[in-house]
């Protein structure tokens, strides 16, 4: 009788936490099969490249929990990146100090990024356009604007410190020799470069902070509760007094703002501004991450923690496959399979209800 109770419980546990378990399995397998996969430098790399997807996934989670979707985030990211870099480049050419350029550029970029969110929100909340269409339309407009601003070219000649900051680490370790914060150890010999270990990329720290704040927002504030309520049942939410149209506006603006952050981080990381090319599919990978993490496209379910795990799964997969030497297109197949598996597992473990968890 005892074993009867344990069996289903284990199954329920696995079903609920399967994403985290899968991530763990991935890490273990790649560590065994791949050379130097299990290294601080590599994990740093994974996190470092995952930051943009993570930010997009955060914004997307808010939207998906309300039962909507935001397809424009990838292109808003490119649009903001282009805007911010143009400002930085022109201000630098006009003789301003690097710091001023960077701050103003970032602020202008973020401000510009609010606009698509407002439009999306207005279309969805007030004009009741289905989110898929509204954000699809915005996707086109954002991309067109980005292309117009950049004329199809990357924006070069940004302040050099931009890339330095984007690629800096919180701490540096030269094994057996030096340990510094925020700056490289002085007097590096050429051979040392290969042994230098950067601990926690600066951008990862920034994103982690943003993430924690968002988690707080979603889990512990009334705003977060309302978000789940709307996703659960719009009518019930209205009846309980929530100003649904206004709330939805905020949700889409939030999504755009996170996409803007992603765009800024991208600029700092690459050191140039670039519009998003079509084959990047950033938004689809962000959405996949959110869904793999446990959200339902119908709304009402999903957590940020899950979304991040989903994003990490996808990024670890790409990194791992690269290191093991498997050609890139397998990553697509793998992503597709995992996604489908995610949803199917979801179907078969109905106990996995985590509204507001």
């Amino acid at each position: 009788m005892h074993s009867q109770a344990v069996g289903p419980k284990i199954l329920a546990f696995v079903g609920e936490k399967w994403a985290s378990i899968f991530l763990l399995i991935l890490v273990v397998v790649f560590s065994m099969v791949g050379k130097n996969f299990f290294a601080v430098k590599n994990f740093s790399n994974i996190l470092y490249f995952a930051t943009t997807y993570a930010l997009l996934a955060v914004g997307e989670t808010f939207v998906i929990v309300t039962g909507g979707i935001d397809l424009s985030v990838g292109f808003v990211m490119g649009f903001v990146g282009v805007t911010a870099s143009i400002v930085m480049r022109d201000m630098l050419a006009a003789g301003n100090s690097q710091t001023v350029c960077m701050i103003v550029g970032t602020l202008v970029g973020l401000a510009a990024g609010v606009l698509p969110g407002l439009i999306n929100g207005y279309l969805v909340a007030r004009l009741r356009v289905p989110p898929f269409i509204a954000t699809l339309g915005m996707y086109g407009v954002a991309n067109g604007l980005a292309l117009n601003l950049s004329q199809g070219f990357p924006i070069y000649f940004l302040p050099p410190r931009v890339q330095e900051i984007g690629n800096s680490f919180v701490a540096y370790l030269l094994p057996g020799r030096a340990f510094t914060f925020f700056e490289r150890p002085p007097n590096l010999q050429p051979g040392d470069l290969r042994n230098l270990i950067g601990i926690i990329p600066g951008t990862v720290l920034v994103v982690a902070v943003i993430l924690l704040l968002s988690m707080f927002l979603l889990k512990r504030t009334r705003f977060g509760q309302h978000t789940y309520a709307i996703g659960g049942s719009k009518d019930a939410a209205i009846r309980s007094g929530i100003n649904v149209p206004r709330h939805l506006m905020w949700i889409y603006v939030l999504s755009s703002v996170f996409a803007s952050f992603a765009g800024i981080i991208y600029v700092f990381r690459i050191g140039l501004g670039n519009f998003t090319t079509f084959s990047s599919s950033y938004e689809l990978f962000a959405i996949a991450g959110v869904v793999i993490g446990g959200a339902s496209l119908m709304g009402g379910r999903g957590t940020l923690g899950g979304a991040i795990i989903g994003v990490l799964i996808l990024n670890t997969l790409e990194n791992g496959l690269n290191i093991v030497g498997i050609p890139a297109f397998y990553r697509y197949i793998a992503t597709g399979l995992i996604l489908i598996a995610a949803v199917v597992i979801d179907q078969f473990t109905p106990e996995r209800r985590s509204a507001g968890a």
């Binding site: 699809l136 339309g137 067109g144 597709g336």
Partner: protein
């Protein structure tokens, strides 16, 4: 209640017709605008080019129409098209190398392509209909898988070595006329002098004819067969459909198979036109297919939409692209334009639901 009926009658027939066919009107105005503003827009060659250019969107849109009417969506069509292009091209090469003449290798390759190309549709359908996976996710998963497998099969390189005759079918016309001299059917006139070639008129691209045969057949299926009726029924209200005895899971599976069929067909047409097969042949057209269907009057919630609308939607997009090149307007503005048209299409849907006919 009676007042609304009277009010509806009072709305004049023309206004009603205009509201219902706003997309067609838009297309006509669009063409007129480009003729006025552009150079040589109104020519046999250019107008035919538009029809050829609209084919990818139309083909993908055909399948998408069926799917969207049932309230679903198929995100895999772009890469199933690439998959189809790659498989078709690959088999043409293999069969040719095996010694088959082009008249056999090309049709055979096409058939094999369709046979294999509907597998993604089968998988999508099963996931959606039987495993209850939301269409968005099921087809997105398939998108990735189709892309990966296409790259695998093509080894990341566009396939070359196809029989030259494939290019002939893909680029030739039904009629050739050298004014006052010659009229040729299906093949370019042999031994025509360069001067003659210069004034030769090519009429009706073969590839358009092939595509439209399928379009017409499936338009008929959608409108006049029980399968079509069931399609609208499911889109309207799934429970009612189930209760009225429709085998919904089986029907939905077929719907996704149809979508994959058209995507593969589009891939075949690609292979014929460009004499090659590439995994990302259709990636740029995936969302265009949804746009075409929605402009044509379908609602993403299901229950509405028709082939005529999809054709118009595809033509609107193709005309826009051709017109922009003609005017020298950079193409990135086309994304802005299409985004706007899309939103307007839906807004019209929202605010004038009476105008958009259901299940025409």
């Amino acid at each position: 209640m009676p007042e609304t009926v009277l009010a509806a009658r009072r709305r004049s027939g023309t206004a009603l017709w205009m509201g219902r066919n706003w997309a067609l009107l838009f297309l006509v105005l669009e063409v007129a605008a480009f003729i006025l503003l552009g150079t040589n827009f109104y020519s046999l060659e250019n107008l035919q080019n538009i029809f050829v250019a609209c084919l990818p969107m139309l083909m993908l849109g055909m399948g998408q129409t069926f799917v969207i009417i049932t309230g679903g969506i198929d995100l895999s069509v772009g890469f199933v098209m690439g998959f189809g292009a790659v498989i078709c091209a690959k088999f043409m090469v293999i069969l040719q190398a095996a010694g088959l003449p082009p008249s056999a290798s090309i049709p055979l390759a096409a058939l094999i392509c369709i046979a294999i190309g509907v597998i993604p549709g089968l998988v999508n359908g099963t996931l959606v209909a039987r495993l209850k996976v939301p269409p968005f996710l099921a087809t997105f998963g398939m998108y990735g898988i189709a892309y990966g497998v296409s790259e695998l099969v093509s080894e990341n390189t566009p396939i070359s070595g196809l029989p030259a005759e494939a290019g002939l079918i893909g680029n030739e016309y039904i009629f050739y006329v050298i004014p006052r001299k010659l009229f040729s059917f299906l093949v370019r006139p042999e031994n025509a002098s360069p001067a003659d070639l210069r004034v030769m008129l090519s009429i009706i691209p073969t590839i358009v004819v092939i595509a439209f045969i399928f379009v017409i057949v499936f338009a008929f299926i959608l409108r006049r067969t029980r399968f079509g009726q069931h399609n609208y029924a499911i889109g309207g209200n799934v429970d009612a459909a189930v209760r009225s005895g429709i085998n919904v899971p089986r029907h939905l599976t077929w719907v996704y198979i149809i979508s994959a069929f058209f995507a593969s067909l589009s891939g075949i047409l690609y292979a014929l036109k460009y004499v090659t097969g590439r995994a990302d042949a259709g990636s740029a057209r995936m969302l265009d297919s949804v746009v075409a269907v929605v402009i044509g009057g379908a609602s993403l919630y299901g229950g509405t939409g028709n082939v005529k609308g999809t054709i118009i939607g595809a033509l609107i997009i193709a005309t826009l692209e051709t017109g922009m090149v003609n005017l020298g307007v950079p193409s990135h503005n086309r994304y802005i334009a299409i985004g706007l048209i899309l939103v307007i299409a839906v807004l019209i849907d929202q605010f004038f639901p009476e105008l958009v006919g259901k299940g025409e």
